[in-house]
Amino acid sequence: MSAPAPQAAGPRAQAVAFGVLAALGAAVFGSSFGYGLFGEEGRVGPGLLPMVTGLLLFLLSAGQLATRLRRAAPTPAEPDGTEARRSRQLWTVVAALPVAVLLVPLLGFLPALGLMVLFVSAVVERRPPLVALLVAAVAVAAGYGVFSEFLNVPLPTGAVGDLLGW
């Protein structure tokens, strides 16, 4: 349907992905029988579609896995300095996101996400502290105005909010 995004990962990474998908398909196929394939009078049961889709996913993925494995796998190039920096940035952001969500029960939704914006701007993007603070403050203020005030979304205030009586 869509033109695939410019592919950065080679056949080896694709092979791993198809391996995972084939395993998922096999697991769905295997577990489908436990749900019952057919109901009364031979009607479609809760396990029929998992059985069919699991099998299809397994076959399609296994076929492509075999194709990728047949291709000569080039040795992955050593990442250069820029590539290593980008990877570091990426994984720092990926780590910051769940940490922010885990902080929600303690700090509340907006402060936790505001901290995430501050961290990403100041540490990952290396903005001056005042600029990073401004970006985070604008985000929190806009989030509060639109979601809390205008849309009346009850955002969690966290233990700190409870303590402060928010």
Binding site: M1, S2, A3, P4, A5, P6, Q7, A8, A9, A13, Q14, A17, L21, L24, G25, V28, Y35, G36, F38, G39, G42, R43, V44, G45, P46, L48, L49, P50, T53, L57, L60, G63, Q64, T82, R86, S87, L90, V93, V94, L97, V101, F109, L113, G114, M116, V117, V120, S121, E125, R127, V135, A139, G143, V146, F147, L151, V153, P154, L155, P156
Partner: protein, 501 residues
Amino acid sequence: MLDNLILGFSTALTAENLMWCFVGVLLGTVIGVLPGLGSTTGVAILLPLTLDLEPVSALIMLAGIYYGAQYGGTITSVLISTPGEAATVVTTIDGYQMARRGRAGAALSIAAIGSFVAAIVSLALLIALAPPFAAFALRFGPPEMLAVMVLGLATIVSFSGENRVLGSTMAVLGLVIALVGVDTGSGVARYTFGSVDLLSGIPFVEVMIGLFAVGEVLNQIHEGAAAPIRARFRELLISRTDLRRSGGAILRGSGVGFLFGCLPGAGSTLASFMAYGIERRVSKHKDEFGSGAIEGVAAPESANNAAANANFVPTLTLGVPGGATTAVLLGAFTIYGIQPGPLLFDQQPELVWGLLASFFIGNLILLVLNLPLAPVFAQLLRVPYGYLYPLILFTSLLGAYAISNNTFSVWVVLVFGLVGYAMKRLGFPTAPLVLGLVLGPLFEKALVQTSAIGDGNLLIVFTRPLCVVVLALAVLLLVGPAIIARLRSARAGAGRGTLVG
């Protein structure tokens, strides 16, 4: 008919109703721009604002919110690859690529123009053909819907281009993800692993925010595409060539959109995918699809707007919602003490025709508001990505939470953000996965109901003429291109043979 139209426009064109329509379009656009908040959520959230209004004014405002939210979703689809709802997923494919090439203004303009033309076409069809179309839609029982779902799945395979197997794999993965939750046919919980949150399935909108918004942000961080897009003002405006290229796409999209929009369920989404697929096949610029073809924006945007109007066919004439948003609107009807159904046109002509006229006016306001604003919205991309993406992540997580006031939604966004990132790095297309996810529950529901009707015999689909026609179309989609290609090569071979001979 003319009297009814005059009545409708005289109702909708009062200063008060015009103002509420404008307010609805404006608020809808603002809501639609927020990740995760599509037209359904927008209408539901803003419904309380209309409770003090006259029923006709309230419905006109709600219809304005509906269209505004849809266009708001298009803005984010184009600018930051974050669709507001399933029906705008396909717009991200070429819309976002146009934006990356500095043509966001043109993409947003053609979306507004296409939506407006689609509104006129579908309004004319709605006025002229609402009762027969409703009767036609009524003939679509579970077996026919099953055939339509098969057609939808065939669309994925047939339009996945060179990567048909890959597209099919992603569609099947979408179907597998859709299996999670309580099975509607039997009440059995599948793949929930004891989690209460998973009983209602993996939430679709959150998956979309993760795959598109967060996945794209992570990919951009890795790509290092932090440079702002500095387009010249001329490039932000829509050109005559753009309009010429999009004309056919808009008309075809409008027709396809209206047809599919009359069917209850996933009509709008299927319509946008079908329109894109057809355009990809008939366009003179096939090679540009996927890398920023304007027809790839014009066709699905016209289709989803025409489908939005057509959704009102079963809603108004039968009292059966055509889609999720019209289901919320149907709730609004009952709040105002209005009973939709065959008698509505006779009993409350002022309300019905006023509402229909407001579709036209609402889309006109949308066009007047957004054509000059499209280049302004596009300026957002001049902001360095390093400033933009923390805010995209912030609003994505906030929007996800707002959907069901639950941090589970936020976790789903994060997990599917990583999946979306991986898919982009691996070159796996995301749109088939989304269509599989949308069609999965509908497909299974139709399958279970059909097997119940046939007492376990699914072959009853072949005894119903409509099913046979739709299934034949699906087969044609799958094998047609191969047959045509073979015929062409055979003809070319024969031609060469004659020349040589």
